[in-house]
Symmetry: C2
Subunit: 221 residues, 2 copies
């Protein structure tokens, strides 16, 4: 039974789903018994998750990476670089009809849609948009960045208005891309990323005390 991928996937889900809190200590032995696997696949999973930035070494042991506000700000700069580059590439493509598929993703969310779905699609928008560029490296960069942001975005308190605003911005970006207006698309995407970062960092900084009370390690910017 190929439990390697299974352990990795399950552990990642538990970390991203905050079932294991940021900052918590992990022992290989605990993971082993928790998933009924032996230490070899557990090791492989930890090594992979380490490169994703979800776990890190804590001396000799392992720790679920804390939420790091300074890191979130750096990621925003990184995202801006790679997402804008990908979007500009996409704008130069002859066939940009694939943006409609992404628009359909946005459309699939309405008031009945559970919060997890909004969260997932909000990330997939950026990931799939990057994939359209056809550049594997830009795509992976965006995907990995979104993975790192995932927990923080989940902890963010987002009101209905903020979500509506994000969706409107997403749609505007797609509209510019559909027209092939690279400069406009890039401007909109940059503003969207910067704005999202500001709201995210502000929200987490405000909630920091409460998050710590819930046992979540949050490192200030």
């Amino acid at each position: 039974m190929s439990q390697m991928q299974s352990v990795e996937k399950q552990l990642r889900q538990m970390i991203l789903g905050l079932e294991i809190g940021p900052g918590e200590k992990l022992t290989e032995r605990w993971i082993e018994s928790r998933f009924g696997a032996s230490r070899t696949p557990v090791r492989a999973a930890l090594l992979r998750l380490e490169t994703e930035g979800l776990v890190g070494r804590d001396g000799r042991g392992w720790t679920v990476s804390p939420i790091n506000l300074a890191e979130l700000e750096q990621i925003a700069v990184y995202r801006e670089a790679v997402e804008v580059a990908a979007l500009r590439l996409t704008c130069t493509l002859a066939d940009r009809s694939a943006v409609d598929v992404i628009e359909a993703m946005l459309d699939s969310c309405d008031t009945d849609t559970p919060r997890e779905e909004w969260h997932r699609i909000g990330m997939d928008f950026h990931i799939e948009l990057a994939r359209l560029s056809g550049n594997e490296f830009l795509f992976r960069a965006v995907r990995d960045a979104m993975t790192r942001l995932s927990r923080a975005r989940w902890l963010e308190v987002r009101d209905e208005a903020a979500l509506a605003r994000a969706w409107a911005e997403h749609r505007a970006i797609l509209a510019a891309a559909r027209l092939g207006d690279a400069d406009q698309a890039a401007r909109l995407l940059s503003a969207h990323i910067v704005g999202s970062r500001d709201r995210l960092v502000t929200s987490l900084a405000n909630d920091r005390r409460g998050l710590r009370a819930r046992g979540f390690a949050v490192i200030a910017a």
Copy 2:
């Protein structure tokens, strides 16, 4: 004895130094005996090198990643995005005196300098320049991209003139950065990356037959 890092480092050196050719098959057992380690550290090393793109899975086994010309072109686009972003950041810093340290790296190469040193410093220029930005993600992106390019750049036939040209371009980039002229620095860096890519891909495409004869797998663009 912590042989894990040792195995990883030695294996990476052998791959980057082309002692193991692109496309060659690797068995965990061979690595094990070659470095006198057991399979646990070998496995860890392979998993790490896999994320660096230096080895890949070949069905059930492992293979040293071939040189992929299409990939080299994608990396150039990726590099342009992240290196330019990092350089622009650096140009906005109040204290840009650290560029002098990088200039000193360039100065340390003269006609007596062995080829390996030129090669290493040619990469370190870009890596250290990215580090100055202070953005860990941009830095890592550049470092990883240069690692992936390393073997291809080593195989490139570069004449004296090409090296001199690259060094002149490096110096011009530093000069613009020192002045804080972000637009100019970005323009120069973009041109440098694109030019390097063209020369690299052209050189490898021309030598492809010879490289294959040496047992190096080279995948066309």
